[in-house]
């Protein structure tokens, strides 16, 4: 009977103030969509790092007149460096082979190049690509080295773009969340006002605090959950329409977003939506009802 009473009060409450309820749900869902997008992007950057960091190498190009002894010494130094996972020596001939494969579409260009014009190099994979600076510090200054190129720098630029987009959607999520909080607070105040007689009688006859507060808090929680479900729907549709279809070419490069990650957003958004609205409602009631 009490459960039925509380549920009934919740439905009546949401309906009594339906425009406010809709506004509350919309702001909540936009805010949660942004939050979800931001978290997905964060997970995506991690995935991309995992994927590309396995591939990237540091190229150490050697000076043209490097002596065999110098090269052997450098190779030994690289092999013994604890940061290095593997290093491969690429001779001028091997460089030419690779060059041929890389530019097989323009044979004239390939013919014009001979092995001597390509630099000898070491291709080094680091155990952790983030350790590049330390590694560079270790090998820099060797007389045989002409130039060190870290592929990570290129990736870093892509990640920077990702990170700033992610930050932007977090900011939007926070602003919308603030608006949603104000709306929740306002809705609860209106609800409490329209039920002030009931609340006064309940306090008088000794209804427990949770029983007085539950309908109001649940009202906010229901709105938060509906907002979360809508937000999740928006994320999922956005993922399918934009990433899987319209921007497929882009996602192919940037590694695809797994559906599992998107589904993971449902409990996250629902949890955040429910907890945030319940908390706001509860705090509002503490000020407004003084139960």
């Amino acid at each position: 009977m009490r459960v039925k009473y509380v549920l009934n009060e919740v439905l009546v409450g949401l309906w009594r103030n339906v425009t406010m309820t809709v506004a509350m749900i919309i702001t909540m869902s936009v805010s949660l969509t942004m939050l979800g997008a931001s978290v997905l992007m964060y997970m995506q950057v991690d995935r991309m790092k995992d994927f590309y960091y396995g591939e990237i190498e540091v190229s150490i190009f050697l000076v043209d007149n490097a002596e065999a002894g110098q090269v052997a010494a450098l190779e030994e130094k690289l092999k013994s460096n604890p940061l290095v996972k593997e290093s491969k020596h690429e001779t001028k001939e091997e460089a030419l082979e690779r060059f041929k494969v890389l530019y097989q579409d323009s044979p004239d260009f390939v013919n014009a190049v001979n092995a001597d014009s390509l630099p000898e190099s070491f291709r080094v994979k680091l155990k952790n690509p983030e350790d590049y600076d330390k590694f560079a510090q270790d090998v820099k200054g060797d007389a045989a080295i002409q130039r060190i190129i870290d592929q990570r720098e290129l990736l870093q630029k892509v990640f920077n773009i990702f990170n700033s987009v992610q930050l932007m959607s977090l900011v939007v999520a926070a602003v919308m969340a603030f608006a949603a909080l104000l709306l929740v607070g306002n809705t609860i105040q209106v609800a409490a006002y329209s039920k002030r007689r009931e609340v006064a009688v309940m306090k008088l006859v000794g209804a427990s605090n949770w029983f007085i507060q539950a309908p109001f808090v649940l009202e906010a929680v229901v709105a938060g959950l509906v907002g979360a479900i809508l937000g999740f729907g928006a994320l999922f549709i956005g993922k399918i329409v934009l990433l899987d279809n319209k921007l497929q070419a882009l996602t192919a490069i940037l590694t695809p977003v797994p559906n599992g990650n998107v589904v993971l957003m449902l409990p996250l958004l629902a949890g955040v939506g429910a907890v945030v609205s319940a908390g706001t409602a509860w705090i509002t009631l503490r000020f407004y009802l003084k139960v």
Binding site: V201, L204, V205, G206, A207, S208, N209, F211
Partner: protein, 226 residues
């Protein structure tokens, strides 16, 4: 049953205390009038007994419980042992007489079955048999106050507090309400009534405690309004 020990209550921003070092004891089963002019502090006593306000100094004991140190989450349970009636009835306008009384039971966790058994009984007791399904606006002032008394009494509280219960009623209806309170008192319920209705007090000849400017100036068994 009720014990006030050196109780002082000063509201924030008030220049003088509403109650000033008041001590009084009320035994189980007593019927007590608090009288005095408006603003004398007599309603503050009701609020203190319900812990709607906190005493500034002193100790308030109700039902052997020290109200002054009662934790706030225990207040609801505490209030279930006290019934309350007010000048403005405080009924829910969109509920019938039956539903108003049943509401008080349901929100403290009693089942509908209990309500079906107890509510008609108590409505009969207050003389509203046959009017269970009327809404407050379909009832006279006296009948509305009877519903309020029924609601206050349905839990069989040990104490019934009445804050000017006849303030909105004509003299004849007031007498009927007083008879009702008297009957409830005879079941063993302690009744504390705040009033400035001299006729009522003079007719009842019960204990009278007069308050003026926050101090007790008279405490008389079988007293009159004076």
């Amino acid at each position: 049953m009720i014990q006030l020990e050196n109780v002082t209550k000063t509201y924030p921003k008030a220049s003088r205390p509403s109650l000033d070092n008041v001590s009084v004891g009320i035994e189980k089963g007593e019927f007590v009038f608090f009288i005095g002019p408006s603003g004398s502090g007599k309603s503050t006593i009701i609020k203190l007994l319900l812990k709607e306000v906190q005493a500034t100094r002193g100790k308030v004991v109700v039902n052997a419980k020290d109200v002054t140190s009662l934790r706030s989450w225990k207040i609801p349970q505490f209030r279930r042992s006290i019934g309350c009636v007010f000048q403005d009835f405080r009924l829910l306008p969109n509920r019938t007489a039956y539903e108003n009384v049943a509401f008080a039971l349901e929100v403290i966790g009693k089942t509908k079955a209990v309500a079906r058994r107890v509510v008609p009984e108590v409505l009969e007791l207050v003389g509203l048999g046959g009017k269970e399904h009327r809404y407050p606006h379909e009832l006279s002032g006296g009948e509305q106050q009877r519903v309020a008394v029924a609601r206050a009494f349905v839990n069989r509280p040990l104490i019934l507090l009445a804050d000017e219960p006849t303030g909105n009623l004509d003299p004849d209806t007031s007498v009927e309400i007083m008879r009702l309170l008297d009957r409830i008192n005879r079941t063993g319920t302690t009744v504390v009534m705040v009033t400035h209705d001299s006729n009522i007090v003079n007719q009842m000849r019960r204990r009278v405690i007069e308050i003026e400017s926050g101090r007790i100036v008279r405490d008389q068994a079988r007293g009159v309004y004076g």
